[in-house]
Symmetry: C2
Subunit: 345 residues, 2 copies
């Protein structure tokens, strides 16, 4: 019988299609209200998987919408009573459950200061939704597995829809329309290679690297692997990796590279080469043949516009985590010590 | 013969004293110019150790100076040509060498847009210094070891001096005056326990946790351990750790907790308890006796104001990295594959 984790993973194309179909008018209404304000910057508050979606939003808002976005430091608000000026800010809270008190507090402070506060959540009657001036619902249906899959891709799609609505025009929407099929294709192509993750069963460590938009993807795959396999995965920008952490590379340390094309990052390619030189196992998620050919486990992606690739490129990573989890005799639905909703202050 | 790494580590009290003595007027002149502008937010551009100093600046500016600070995403500028609006921003570049092209590019863009650009660097004739409107020199003397020690603590002190100058008044300066002695005391107290790091010699993994101001410290210790020992260290906010990564805890995974008092973070304390329950080795850097008593390797800190604790609390972590490096037969001065200056785009 399929695990909840796999069932929800496979629901993703349908969840993404529903959000696209039913969420566009909400995204455009929110964008309309945002255009009425003079935004100076954005503050993004989130934890766990949602924080990885926030990382994607940080790149998207900066590159597509000209807006500097800061990942919030919630403890500065809750533990230190910081009240930084949020004048002219978009304060965006991202949370599947909408429950975490520290994220709610950042939005409350934003609202007190008159900033535009927006909740991106699967639970429209949650404390986060109540705290915000506007809510963008994920419409992902209940998520039962502790490790998020469909709510993560729904969050990243929601962020892309908001960015598209802010930018205006039909072009981004016509690209967005392909996302559900691209997600289905990623599942089809990667399901079989993911089952060969058992080759890495004996390794207790994994380095995951991405770059640019897909730094978010590297971090989210890292988290999925940690949650479901007990392996200590460590995610990096390949640029940061070269500034020090590179020193840990050795034969017994597998590397997973997230490299959707067509953009080539030299530091990521050189890290792939270095992994091969060390003789360490290499996993590649990419649509670039020259990278896939070097991999022990090659997870091919369909070609797609780069700005949307994080929504799709995470899926082979979820499948890889599932394959490795089962190969290591773990229960992917019930990670040791975790529960679905985590309350942090 | 002492390694360069240890020599420079032990220079820190003197380096900090010099920067305090000779840098105050520069910090106050910069603060005066900043007060003349209406700042909306800050953007901090850095990589490697300097990025950990930027993380400290993010908390400090938010809590002490009411300024939201975003850690920049340099690749958005260099690879994607993003030109986000930097109107009203303080754009701060932090780099020991001032060489990394991507960091320089963020400052150039800030200057093009008329933002106030500031370089915090040890090299006043570097490209970063040339790109910035103002320069705050670290005065740390040349650093020879690849893994930064004295330039990291000088960067954190410089950030604290800028925050103090922006805040105004004598109180922060009278607290800052104690930092060099506190650093010397941290070296004295931790040198012996750090030598017992050999107990962890056989472990290839280490989790490092901190919270609030000292998230920066946890990240910097993580980097030091990676650079000098080959151990895969992974740094977290203890709040983020509970949102998923907690699943990897087990008997064979040592945990290092950075917890300068007096503020108590429940999630950090509960993580310490959990480590003990799992029977995993525990290293503690703290001035709280109840935490130190639970540790296998206890590294006691002197008491100090929390806002300054990151400058001092990193030092036992540097000593721990040194002890572990030597115990594992590594060369702390010459990490495999690294060089002192890394050029990333």
């Amino acid at each position: 019988m399929a695990t909840l984790f796999e069932t929800e993973l496979r629901e993703q194309p349908a969840v993404l299609a529903r959000l696209l179909r039913e969420g566009r008018s909400a995204a455009e209404a929110i964008a309309e209200r945002l255009r009425g304000r003079k935004l100076s910057f954005a503050v993004l508050a989130a934890r766990g998987s949602s924080d990885n979606a926030a990382r994607y939003a940080q790149y998207l808002l900066g590159i597509q919408n000209g807006l500097v976005a800061a990942l919030a430091t919630p403890s500065a608000f809750t533990h230190y009573g910081a009240r930084p000026s949020l004048e002219g800010a978009l304060v965006l809270g991202i949370s599947q459950s909408g429950q975490s008190p520290d994220i709610v507090e950042v939005l409350r402070e934003g609202r007190r200061q008159g900033a535009f506060t927006l909740a991106l959540t699967n639970e429209t009657d949650s404390p986060l939704a109540s705290a915000a001036e506007a809510v963008f619902p994920l419409l992902a249906g209940q998520e039962h597995a502790v490790a998020a899959t469909k709510t993560y891709t729904a969050q990243t799609l929601a962020v892309a829809m908001l960015s598209a609505a802010l930018k205006g025009g039909e072009q981004p929407w016509s690209e967005l329309a392909d996302v559900p099929d691209l997600a289905a294709s990623a599942i089809d192509r990667s399901a079989a290679p993911a089952r060969t993750a058992e080759r890495l069963r004996e390794h207790s460590r994994l380095v995951v690297v991405g770059r640019g938009y897909n730094l978010s993807t590297a971090f989210e795959i890292t988290l999925k692997v940690k949650e479901t396999t007990g392996v200590m995965a460590d995610g990096y920008s390949s640029a940061d990796f070269l500034h020090g952490p590179k020193a840990i590379l050795e034969r017994n340390l597998p590397v997973l590279a997230v490299a959707p094309g067509p953009r080539v990052f030299d530091d990521l390619d050189s890290l792939v080469r270095l992994t091969r030189e060390k003789g360490a196992p290499l996993v590649v998620i990419s649509d670039r043949r020259e990278l896939l050919e070097q991999a022990d486990i090659a997870m091919p992606l369909p070609a797609m516009p780069e700005w949307l690739s994080p929504i799709v490129a995470v899926i082979p990573g979820q499948l890889f985590a599932l394959g490795l989890s089962l190969a290591r005799g773990m229960q992917p639905d019930a990670p040791p010590g975790l529960s679905k909703v985590t309350h942090t202050r």
